[in-house]
């Protein structure tokens, strides 16, 4: 993917690219760390139809959503042949009992036979996390298992 990086003297940096559908999409990072999501107008790729200021949390949440979607799709595709296997995403909420704890403490694999295959954090993927991977609020876990196992795992992550 070819991402254009353009300096905006006095403001910050714009990073954007052209989508297949002909829209320009990207972010403007301000000098003071603020991020703005920009999307070009449909009739004029030079103009922005929307420029949406995002807080740090919102930006990383959006990054996780976009990043994890691809992984989930890939996994679903791979497991299509195996009936009964489902891929699902879990959000670590601020009030989760396993927040800031190593993932092994939740013992999800032992208790539900569900595998956590990736953690999405701030737009980055941590593949096959080990039991000592620390869970943070806002993390998105990509899990593979049976329908029942995943329901149980969700409950564990929420309530302990």
């Amino acid at each position: 993917m070819n991402v254009d990086e353009t300096e905006l003297p006095g403001f910050g940096v714009r990073k954007d690219f052209m989508t297949k559908s002909g829209r320009r999409i990207g972010v403007v990072t301000h000098r003071d760390g603020e991020t703005e999501l920009i999307i070009s107008a449909w009739d004029d790729p030079d103009t922005c139809q929307a420029s949406i200021p995002l807080t740090g949390d919102e930006a990383s949440a959006l990054g996780n959503l976009l990043g994890s979607q691809r992984i989930v799709m890939q996994l679903t595709e791979e497991h299509k042949e195996v009936p009964g296997i489902v891929t699902r995403q879990f959000n670590i909420l601020p009030e989760s009992p396993y927040r800031d704890q190593p993932m092994g403490r939740a013992a999800i694999r032992t208790r539900t036979s569900v595998s956590i295959v990736a953690i999405m954090r701030e737009g980055e993927v941590i593949p096959s996390p080990g039991p000592d991977a620390i869970l943070h609020a806002g993390d998105l876990l990509v899990a593979v298992g049976t329908q029942e196992g995943l329901d149980a795992a969700a409950k564990i992550l929420r309530n302990g």
Binding site: P9, G10, R14, D44, P45, T47, C48, S51
Partner: protein, 397 residues
Amino acid sequence: MNPVALTLIELGAVIFVLGFLARLAGRISMSPIPLYLIGGLVFGAGGIVDLGGVREFSHLAGEIGVILLLLLLGLEYTAKELFTGLRRSWQAGVVDAVLNFIPGAAVALLLGWGALGAIVMGGVTYISSSGIVAKVITDLGRLGNRETPTILSILVFEDLAMAIYLPILTAMLAGVSWFGGLQTVGISLAVITVVLVMALRYGHHVSKAVHSENSEVFLLNVMGLALLVAGLASAMQVSAAVGAFMLGIAISGTTAHLASRLLEPLRDLFAAIFFVAFGLNTDPASIPPVLGWALLLAVVTAVTKIVTGWWAAARAGVAVPGRARAGTSLIARGEFSIVIAGLAVTSGAVAGELAALATAYVLIMAVLGPLAARFTEPAVKALRGRYSRQKAPAPVA
């Protein structure tokens, strides 16, 4: 009443009225600069009320205002951005300078203000207001637009051009000989190069030297250093404002960011006083005779800025609506035109009507610029709509 009390009351009243004007400007989302100028005209010599007592204070405060304006402008840029901006936009920058300097200079010559007056008025019509343009871009949500880097790099070029222009102007206004003038230009070019290279290599040292966790210490450090550098530059005939601009460039990173946040309120105060002081020294009665010239200059230099922006944006591969936006965004003139005119007027080396013409011109352009930028989009759409309707083949039924 003792004179101090009187001055305090007058100053308080002036600043209070400025506050009201700034609020009014914010309400209708326009730049407060024209209102400040009008405020100065009303309070000044030949105005409705003559406040003589504040003139002494406002003169020095105005000088500090100019230093702070340029210091904060320098703080906004990093040396790296200046270099890339310069590389990307020097052709557009040269076109901009030529097209927009000539009208002002020509009018000054027509009015018989001589070469010096021509150089001053050329500067006044040349330089766009980075403050107003930046505000227009953010207010209209155009930061992510494709023409925006083009606009910003033209502004960068203009600001750097100021760093060469102001010392030349200062030297000429001081009546330095040709040789002396060349010397000052040499000195200022050398200083600019050294500062830019130093800022690029050792900028963090300068930043570290002034930085402090304690905001009081930090403020005093930056302010003290700025005045010191400005004073030294002025003593070397290089123009105080340029010294402050260079210091701003040398300070970089988080320090620059913190410094500009800390100094912003001070700049707003002193710059407001600067604009008022400029208005104070202009006789409102001298404006009507030059109003026709101001309008003519406004129309011509609005067109030349549009041509500049259009051409530069076209070179950057931007389509027609974006070119129009780039052109109209650059129309606004403001703080720096007044800085230039102010330098000339204080030196007493130019005709008095120059202040009147510059005031009238900036009053028009500071209002016209943002309006033009705002209504470009609908205007282009309407024009294109009509055009494409004419071109569309007639329905076959």
